[in-house]
């Protein structure tokens, strides 16, 4: 399995190189001048020229690409054109923020979605089934940003139950250690702060969880229906097993395999696709970080950011593949 993982990782190299080329190409194709973005409206033509030179933007693209790649191989993401800060240091808190949010969202989506799907399949055509599938359908149909806005409006503006933006109480900032604030507050032994972090997480993670939850619920249901029709379920029932265990033990472990794929895909989508939610909830995540960088044509940041997200996505898929083996003994990775 380890050997398999290593081989998979090696096989990733061409994909990553391809990706880096595409990212690089796309970025250079985007019109707009980073120098202008940095210097802004008041820039003089000389200043722009000089800045371009200083940033190495006047070099041929392959030279730029080569130095980008060699730096990357050395584990160096380069420095932001705009802030001159090392991207490696700058990017982590954003990534951590998004990961924290996405993981929680995914957790909600999986727990709720899977159970909803199971219930629907188990009680097929019942009121529960119809209700949860309608919920799931509405869930995938509503624009996230709209849901986010509405949730914000209701729960934090109208009702004032939850904070509307950000990761933490600004007045009582968390001392970042890992940048996962849930962990950091616990490390610091600040239970009050921990709850504050949770309170901040609730709305955005719920908004973010809606779509994957709905998709997972639907996937679980259809996969579950198929499994519940299978011979081995009949066998399990013929043994005299309780329906609950038939469903949650025998059926679920089988039905979960296709759901796993969806979970992997959705997690990847969450990581990169959280931009809208991040904008609405003022979440300092990787999505808004990259989006910002696109606006400022901060090439190194865009390149590294997108590649990093894509890399994580690929890694998640690898993990999912390995998880298959855990769920399905027929799959053997050697």
């Amino acid at each position: 399995m380890l050997a398999y993982s290593i081989r998979r990782l090696i096989a990733l190299i061409p994909v990553l190189i391809g990706m880096s080329l595409i990212v690089f190409g796309i970025i250079r194709a985007i019109p707009g001048d980073p120098a202008l973005a940095i210097l802004g409206q008041k820039a003089t033509p000389e200043a722009l020229k000089q800045l371009r030179h200083a940033l190495g933007l006047d070099k041929p693209w392959y030279t730029q690409y080569f130095s980008f790649i060699t730096d990357l191989l050395k584990g160096d993401f380069g420095t932001s054109l705009r802030t001159h800060a090392a991207i490696r240091q700058e990017i982590w808190p954003h990534l951590a923020a998004t990961i924290e949010l996405s993981v929680l969202a995914m957790l909600i989506a999986v727990v709720v979605g899977v159970n909803l799907g199971i219930l629907s399949a188990w009680k097929q055509n019942s009121v529960i089934d119809v209700a949860s599938m309608v919920i799931a359908l509405v869930g995938v149909s509503m624009p996230v940003f709209w849901l986010g806005l509405m949730a914000q409006w209701i729960f934090s503006i109208k009702l004032g139950w939850l904070p509307s933006i950000g990761r933490e109480n600004i007045r009582d900032p968390v001392t970042a250690i890992t940048n996962f604030y849930i962990i950091d507050t616990l490390l610091a032994g600040r239970i009050d702060q921990f709850w504050e972090i949770i309170r901040h997480l609730i709305l955005p993670s719920l908004a973010l969880a809606t779509i994957p939850m709905a998709i997972i619920a639907r996937m679980t249901r259809s996969s579950m229906l198929e499994v519940l029709r299978s011979d081995y379920i009949r066998t399990a029932r013929a043994k005299g097993q309780k329906m609950f265990w038939v469903v949650y033990k025998h059926a679920l472990k089988n039905a979960f395999i296709p759901v796993l794929t969806v979970i992997g895909l959705q997690t990847g989508l969450l990581l990169g696709g959280a931009i809208l939610t991040e904008t609405i909830f003022g979440w300092p995540g990787i999505g808004s970080y990259i989006y910002d960088a696109i606006q400022y044509r901060d090439y190194p940041v865009i390149q590294s950011g997108i590649l990093l997200v894509a890399f994580i996505f690929v890694i998640i898929n690898l993990i999912i593949d390995l998880l298959y083996a855990a769920f399905d003994p027929r799959i053997k990775y050697k």
Binding site: G18, I26, S141, W146, M150, G273, I275, L276, I294, A310
Partner: protein, 301 residues
């Protein structure tokens, strides 16, 4: 040329063979689709929006950009069922015209993605080897990018406009269809009726176009309708970020982002475009689900 067959065997009369309706698989699917209540609701929703979109100029001849700043942000009333926006424009009118945009974007981008995806998918699936390797890797790469970021990047390259948003959405969707078609081609290649076709002595091209493609159609259509739903959402998201349709075009996502500042003062400006998106998307989702149930034999008994 053909030698005439002589002695016919005694036909085997079956009891059910007298007067059974001759149903093509398509008709059968239609029949089972018609029985699906949710799917019918979905169809009705879509039809409603299509009709409204078509009739918009008749219903509201004054057009979607009829401004009356004096009438800004009026709540829903008998004159303006959905209220007015910050230009004093009737929101209902804009939603009606907006339906044209959303439906158009959804449909065209998906058709584009299907055409490109099918072409690449067939290349990859049927020719295999290196072609497959290259195409599949490209799909992998495209799928590894967060699609919204990819779409944003494409729009950034081409410039924000409805047409470019459409191209971006289509591009992002290509690998989905490509993969679907590829896997379908691969699995069909192993099907016995394809083997039978080869055994007859059929050429590859004929097998591809007469047998493999028609049999891949059902999942493509299903995926297609469902993709229209997501395409509409994507277009709205791009519009929301200001990367899609440009004002004063009444694109729903753009309407949302343009009025989100009024959410506290004039919630109707946000509520209705959001509902319009949700409802249309819901319609396509219901419709697509119905199609899946009707067309996908796995869901049948």
């Amino acid at each position: 040329m053909l030698e005439t067959v002589v002695k016919p065997n005694a036909p085997v009369p079956g009891p059910e063979e007298q007067k059974e309706k001759v149903d093509s698989p398509f008709r059968e699917a239609l029949r089972s689709f018609k029985k699906n209540k949710l799917a019918i609701i979905g169809t009705l929703i879509i039809l409603l929006f299509i009709i409204l979109a078509l009739l918009a100029p008749l219903i509201r001849p004054e057009g979607y950009n009829h401004q009356l700043l004096a009438d800004r942000l009026k709540p829903p009333s008998s004159a303006h069922w959905f209220g007015t926006d910050d230009f004093g424009r009737d929101i209902l009118t804009r939603i009606l015209y907006g339906a044209r945009i959303s439906l158009w974007v959804g449909f065209v981008s998906v058709v584009g993605a299907i055409v490109a995806g099918t072409f690449l998918g067939i290349l990859a699936g049927y020719y295999g080897k290196t072609v497959d390797m290259i195409i599949s890797r490209i799909f992998d790469i495209m799928l590894a990018f967060p699609s919204i970021l990819l779409a944003i990047a494409i729009v950034a390259i081409l410039g924000p406009s409805l047409q470019n948003a459409l191209i971006a959405i289509a591009t992002v969707n290509v690998p989905n269809f490509g993969r679907l078609v590829r896997s379908k081609v691969l699995s069909l290649k192993e099907e016995e009726f394809i083997v039978a076709a080869r055994a007859i002595g059929m050429r590859d091209a004929r097998i591809l176009f007469y047998h493999i493609l028609p049999n891949s159609l059902a999942p493509i259509i299903v995926q297609g309708t469902l993709s229209i739903a997501t395409a509409i959402l994507d277009a709205a998201a791009l519009g929301f970020l200001g990367l899609g349709a440009q004002p004063p075009q009444p694109e729903w996502g753009r309407m949302l982002s343009d009025s989100r500042e009024y959410i506290t003062n004039a919630p109707w400006t946000v509520l209705f475009p959001g509902l319009a998106i949700g409802l249309t998307v819901l319609g396509f989702n219901l419709f697509g689900d119905g199609m899946r149930d009707a067309l996908d034999p796995r869901m049948k008994k």
